[in-house]
Amino acid sequence: MASPVNPADISPRQVANKSDKKALLDAIRMTLNVQSSAVRLNTQTFNRNRYTATALLPDYSELKDRARQIKENAIANLPALLRRLEVSVRANGGHFYLAKTAADADQYIRDLLLSHEARLVVKGKSITSEEIKLNHTLEAAGITVAETDLAEFILQVADEQPSHIVAPALHYSRERITALFKRKFTTDLPLDTGEELTKFAREKLREQFIAADAGISGANLIAADSGSLMLVESEGNIRMTTTLPPLHIAIAGIEKVVPSRLDFGTFIELLPRSGTGQPLTSYVSILHPPLKATPFAAPGKAAKPREFHMVLIDNGRGRMREDPVLSEALYCIRCSACLNSCANFETVGGHAFGGETYSGGIGGSWEAGTGKLLNARFSELCTGCSRCVTQCPVRIDIPWLNENLRQRMNFEQPASPAKSAFGAMTGSAPEDRVAPLQKQFFANYHVLARAATRFSSLANASARLPFARSLMESVVGLDRRRKLPPFPRKTWLQLHAEQRSGQALASKPGLPEVLMLADVFTNYGSPERGIAAMHMLRQVGLQVELSSCLPDGRAAISQGMIATARQQANDMAQMLRPYLNKGTTICVLEPSVLVMLRSDYAHLLDDPATAATLAHGKFLEPLQLLWSITNDQRLDLAQIFPASGSPHGTRVFYHSHCQQRTCDAAWQTVEILKLCGFDVVTSSVECCGMAGSFGYKRDYYELSMAVGEDLFAQVRAAEAEGGPRTMVASGTSCHEQLWAGMGREVIHPAELLVGTLA
């Protein structure tokens, strides 16, 4: 067997196209090895700053609604807007060209520059120009292209693709930039600080701004009513590019067009805050070129009149617009919030979680939309944790886009008798039976779990056998380094049936009826948490019933097996409907299932009436329910669940589940624990890295543990002062990840509270 390539020797360009899975796996190894610390530092800084900056907008939520609405209407009316824009640009004295393909755009720009005898072009950052590989075309025609955004400058020197849609070189640490420049340039200047590197690049580029024949910019937004551009930047290079040379070319995708300059008012508040977390970047230009002021004429050169060309690019966008799923990606304003709020992205960046141009959660749809479906393979790194969904300023359901890409990639797989048989046996919907065995295995986890709990001693013993683990690794890709939690001897439903008679607590009148959902993860994996949650709720006088156990579709949808998820969702909805009709509160322990019922089902339910019932249903996480009862009944939690009586001590470290935070059901737990008298330290990571089955997969084990390291470090930091803390988490995956990383027991908040009763 050939020895594996040293990850440090893999160049980003080599693995830019990930249609071959090996490229994706190599890219993960390379980025973890070389880029991870710089990517973490930069994305996590953006992420923190975004939370701070958006919290200062009193009408953040309304602005997002308005932005969404503007984009929905704009994309719906795009053909008319483009016609209107063309009229506006021409009325201003500019030229307008709508390019069907990347090659058309390249050719137009090349011919235009050649006809102006332009030899030197200065360019502002434009990811769209990366998409159409414009530099390549221009350089082949003998035109010198100077990338003037310092990040693009670094990439041009290094010959790498962008790793982030806003800060395309954020995978470079200062030290690596120094090493790169020393390798590529001969200079006596010191290049050992950010200031020195900036000075070096500034002086080099200042000469080019002054000598440039033409400037090429992108555009963050374009207004059809006036031909206005909105250009957001901090370095001043876009101002230089649009102000100094006589010829200005603006290139952008057609999706950047909004009806009116007045619409800029909404986006100017959202875009910088959602991106770098600044209230505004240093410069936001609002221009309807050609500018009226005379361009710069270098000393000794004659002044030329201004000329402006707007080049809009379709390159697959028209097709995306017709696509019922991918059309949503056209709402993207390229702010990068979905990249910075993604735990996997924070750990590897866009050279692994990205393609040749676009990166992050939204990137898969763009790579597929402007190229080939398989170019979106990297979107497998979207775990569906949903942290990006509430951060997106235009509310794009990014996990849903990625689940659909996954489904389409599943459908490209050849059918096989083994896959069909396995699918039929485990309950995959017929059309999903082409999916790889691994996906069908994880999607139908409940079938395996049901069998395993029935024969738990056998299952647990075999899970410890090296032979069995190696078989599981080779057949379904379950990483053998992952310690498997033992299957319990009895399910939640069995334990509940046994305990029912002894648990008759007097219920208080006037409280809501509660149905506890026996989700498959808790029922088969950790019934003691379910029992504790019911005990906790009964303790405050609630009458709690336990549902039967059905798969909810979460596992299936995460594998892109949407037909299977649809089947499961419809069955689940049928079971819940009578309860919802009589106003029963549905209590859901597992946050990923809670989000499934609250939002994903909108995509999955066939019958509109059932969908409407579900949409209006009351679904609550158990401590969220306890919080509302506490407030309604003015309960004294310190009396009921006194921390002083806790066998786990009063010092706790609490990690909430990613999806629990997304649906605003996490802070209540923290408040409750504090009211009971616990000393609580909370995690601040976006996701633990396990994310359902993701961390169990052989291909992603290292990445999952690297993501988890941030969380483990926070636990260690919290324990550095005053000693150990009891680890408390609300999600099944988080339990398993914390257990793997810290090697200690993790309990559910309900177990912590119920523990105080003994």
């Binding site: 200062r174 950010g194 500034r202 240093s282 410069y283 221009l287």
Partner: protein, 181 residues
């Protein structure tokens, strides 16, 4: 809501946000002498000062400043790229972000506010609006933002692309804002 915010509180917010964005802010009396002193003091190290005359504020207000021999109103290309300071008016400012808004459609205003390491912007206190979005409203400043080519300038140029945050990239390294009472 806009009318309900007193201009004095807008000035306070503006000053605080601009300072946060690493600009310096100075409030002076609306007289040629006070303005001239303020600009020349801010640009005291400069041997040449670029100046794009105002179109909203009265010319006369800048008379004292413009009479200084270091001031260039019609610079040669060499002077345009080799001056230490550039002075323009701003037609508006934004309280929540500390930005000044520079109209770049007037001759040389774009370059003067961009090419020199020290940028000085002069703005009238009554043109401070609460938020960036107000420049896109017809009922604010008589719809002054709707037709112009302009730039929201928030602090000096900056980058984090070379590792740490560095101020002073392609655009000015320093921004000094003079607010006229």
């Amino acid at each position: 809501m806009l009318q309900a915010t007193p201009q004095s509180s807008l000035l306070e917010d503006f000053t605080s946000a601009a300072t946060q964005a690493v600009a310096t802010v100075q409030v002076v009396d609306r007289t040629p002498a006070a303005l001239g002193d303020a600009i020349l003091h801010a640009a005291s190290g400069a041997t040449r000062i670029l100046f794009a005359p105002p179109h909203n504020l009265p010319d006369s207000l800048f008379a004292d400043f413009a009479s200084d021999p270091r001031v260039r109103m019609n610079p040669t290309p060499e002077e345009m790229i080799n001056s230490a300071a550039g002075v323009t008016e701003a037609f508006a400012a934004v309280a929540s972000t500390g930005s000044v808004c520079i109209d770049v459609s007037y001759e040389r205003t774009g370059m003067v506010s961009l090419l020199a390491p020290l940028q000085i912007a002069v703005v009238a206190a009554e043109t401070i609006v609460p938020q960036p979005r107000d420049l896109f409203r017809a009922d604010v400043l008589d719809g002054s933002g709707l037709e112009r080519d302009f730039v929201f300038v928030t602090g000096p140029s900056a980058t984090a692309d070379m590792g740490p945050l560095v101020r002073g990239v392609h655009g000015p390294h320093k921004l000094h804002i003079i607010v006229l009472r």
